[in-house]
Symmetry: C2
C-alpha cells in the first residue's frame, strides 16, 4: 500500500503531496472526491515536515518517516474539516470548505474517514513492529488532546488567566507538533533523550505557532485580513494578544474588549474594536514577543542533535512559525 505512496523523489513536500493524490484517485467516486477536496489546497505541511526533519535529525530517512508524516497531516486536515463546521467557516485555503461545498453530513464523515485512514497508513507503513504501538499512541493521544483543547477553549473568556490559554494552546496546537516530532524520533530508533528533546522542541514550536497565529489578524494590513481572523472574532474567541491587552491595557481598552466579545457587534466591527485594543494597549507587542520567546526555547533544544542539517531545517520551521503572513 505504502509502496505506492510517491517515494524516492527526495523532496519531502512533493512526496507528501504525491501520496495525497495517490490515496484518493478514483474518479467519479464521491467518497474519494470528498477526501480529495479536503486534502487539496496549499497547506503549509508544517507538521509532517517537522516529523520528517525530526526523524532525519536522529539519523532516520525520509522514506521510513513518510507514512507517519502523512498521518499527522491527515489528522490536521481532519480537524480543520470539523472545525470549519463548528465555526461556520465557509472558506478554507481560498476554496469552499468541505461542509460549504458538500454539506455538513458529508463533511462530518470526511473528517472521520481521514481520522481512520491515518491509522491505516501508520499500521500499513511497514514500520518495525516495536515502534508501531508507541507511534500510534503518540499520534492518537495528540488527537485526543486536540479534542480536549477544543472543549476547554469554548470556556475561555476575555478575563481568563493566561495559564488557561496556555493549557488550551498546549492541547489544541502544541500536542500535535510535539507528537509529530516525538514520532519522527521514535521511528528510526532515536534514544529516549532524543525523543524527549524533539518533543520539547515540538511543544515550544507549537505554542509559538499558535501565539503567532493569534497575532496574524492584527499584523497584516486590514485588506489582507483573511478568514481565520474574522472567524475567531465572529466566534467571540479571546486570543493571545486580546488576553494580554485585557491584562495590561487601560480601562478603556478593557471596555473595548468586553464590548467586542459580548457578541453585541457584527464580526467586522468586533475585529476592528479588538484591533484598536491590542495595538493601543501593547498587547500585540507582548504577544509577538512571547511567541518569539517560545521559538527561541524550541531552537535551544536542537543543539545536541546528531544530524546538523536536519536540525537546521527544524530551526527554519520554527523561524517561519513566527514570521509568516498566513
Amino acid at each position: 500500500m505504502i509502496e505506492t505512496l510517491g517515494r524516492g523523489t527526495g523532496d519531502p513536500t512533493a512526496m507528501i503531496r504525491d501520496a495525497f493524490v495517490r490515496r484518493c484517485r478514483r474518479e467519479g467516486d464521491r467518497f474519494d472526491e470528498l477526501i480529495r477536496h479536503a486534502l487539496a489546497g496549499p497547506g503549509k505541511l508544517v507538521r509532517p515536515l517537522a516529523l520528517i526533519a525530526s526523524a532525519e535529525a536522529v539519523g532516520g530517512s525520509v522514506d521510513s518517516a513518510l507514512p507517519a508524516a502523512i498521518a499527522v497531516e491527515y489528522l490536521h486536515v481532519a480537524s480543520l474539516v470539523h472545525d470549519d463546521i463548528i465555526d461556520g467557516d465557509d472558506v478554507r485555503r481560498g476554496r469552499p470548505s468541505v461542509h460549504a461545498r458538500y454539506g455538513t453530513a458529508d463533511a462530518i464523515v470526511t473528517g472521520d474517514a481521514l481520522l481512520f485512514d491515518l491509522f491505516v497508513i501508520v499500521a500499513e507503513g511497514g514500520l518495525p513492529a516495536d515502534v508501531v504501538a508507541p507511534v500510534v499512541a503518540e499520534i492518537a493521544r495528540a488527537g485526543n488532546d486536540l479534542c480536549r483543547g477544543q472543549v476547554l477553549e469554548s470556556g475561555l473568556k476575555h478575563d481568563s488567566a493566561l495559564e488557561d490559554y496556555l493549557e488550551v494552546a498546549g492541547l489544541k496546537t502544541a500536542a500535535l507538533f510535539r507528537a509529530a516530532c516525538r514520532a519522527g524520533a521514535l521511528l528510526d530508533g532515536g534514544s529516549a533523550e532524543q525523543v524527549d528533546l524533539l518533543g520539547s522542541y515540538g511543544e515550544h514550536t507549537g505554542i509559538a505557532f499558535q501565539m503567532y497565529d493569534d497575532c496574524l489578524p492584527y499584523l497584516a494590513d486590514s485588506s489582507r485580513v483573511g478568514k481565520p481572523a474574522v472567524s475567531d472574532a465572529a466566534n467571540l474567541r479571546p486570543t493571545w494578544p486580546v488576553l494580554l491587552a485585557y491584562r495590561d491595557g487601560e480601562p478603556k481598552h478593557r471596555r473595548l474588549i468586553e464590548t467586542a466579545l459580548s457578541g453585541a457587534l457584527p464580526p467586522e466591527e468586533t475585529l476592528r474594536s479588538l484591533r484598536v485594543a491590542v495595538l493601543a494597549s501593547g498587547g500585540l507587542g507582548s504577544a509577538c514577543r512571547s511567541a518569539r520567546e517560545h521559538a527561541g526555547r524550541a531552537r535551544a533544544r536542537l543543539r545536541e542533535l546528531p544530524v546538523a542539517a536536519a536540525a537546521t531545517r527544524l530551526a527554519g520551521i520554527t523561524d517561519r512559525a513566527v514570521d509568516r503572513d498566513r
Copy 2:
C-alpha cells in the same frame, strides 16, 4: 493504563462497562462528562462481545482481548454520536443524544475524541508487538469502510439494486463486525485460516444484524416503534424490506413506497405507508428470511473452531442478531 481497566471479574460485559467508567471519571470535567454521556446507556455491546468470544474461540483470554474489545465499542459509539447529528436524532438509548444535550460542536468533538482514544487504548493495551499493526489496521480499515458506507448510503433510492444495499450494509455495518472478529482471532495468535473463518462469521452476522435492524420497525407493534424506525423514514432512507417490497410488490405497493420516500409526507405518515407496503407485498417476510439466511451462514463458519464453548457463545450472538426487539 489498561491495568486499571476493570480486569479479572470474569464477566466480559461487566468488564467492558467498568472500563468505560474508569476511563472518564474526572468529576466536574466537561470533556469527561461528554465522553461519559456518549458511553452511558444500555448498549448491547454486540461487537466487543463478538471480539472477545472470537479471541476465546481460538484459545485466547478475555483479559488480553479487552482493550481491542473496548476499542471497537468506542468506534461504534463514536459513529452513533456523529450519526445522530447527521440524522437529527435527539434521542439515543432513551436519553438525549450528545448533540441534543450539549450542542453540535461538542458532539462532533466527542465523536472525534472517542475515535482517537480507541487507538490509544489499543496501542497501550499491552498487546504483543507483532499484532499491534494488524489489529490497528483491521479496526481503522473498518472505520474507514463505515464512512464510505455512509456516503454511499445517501445515494440509495427506492429502486436501487439489491447489490447496492448489500454493498452499503457490508461497509456500514458488517465491516466492523468482521474486523472485531478478525482482531479477536489475531490477538492471541489465531491461524490465518481461523482469522478468515471468524472474519467471514462476523461479516455474515453483521449483514444479518443490519437486515434485521431494518425489519424491526415493522415487526414491533406500533406503540413500540422507536426512534430508529422513525429516523430512517424521516431521512427517507430505503431499507432492506422496503427495497424487497419495491422489487416484489404490486404496482399499488410501489406507488405507496414512491410517495412515502418522495419526502411529501410527515415522518409518521411515511412510516405508516411503508409499513403497509412491506407487510402487504411480502417484502418484510423476505427481508427477515434473508437475515436468517445470513445468520445461518455465519453459524456454519463456527464448526471448526477449537474452543466449543466460545463458538457456542458466538452462535448465541448471531441468534440474537435476528431475534430481538431493539
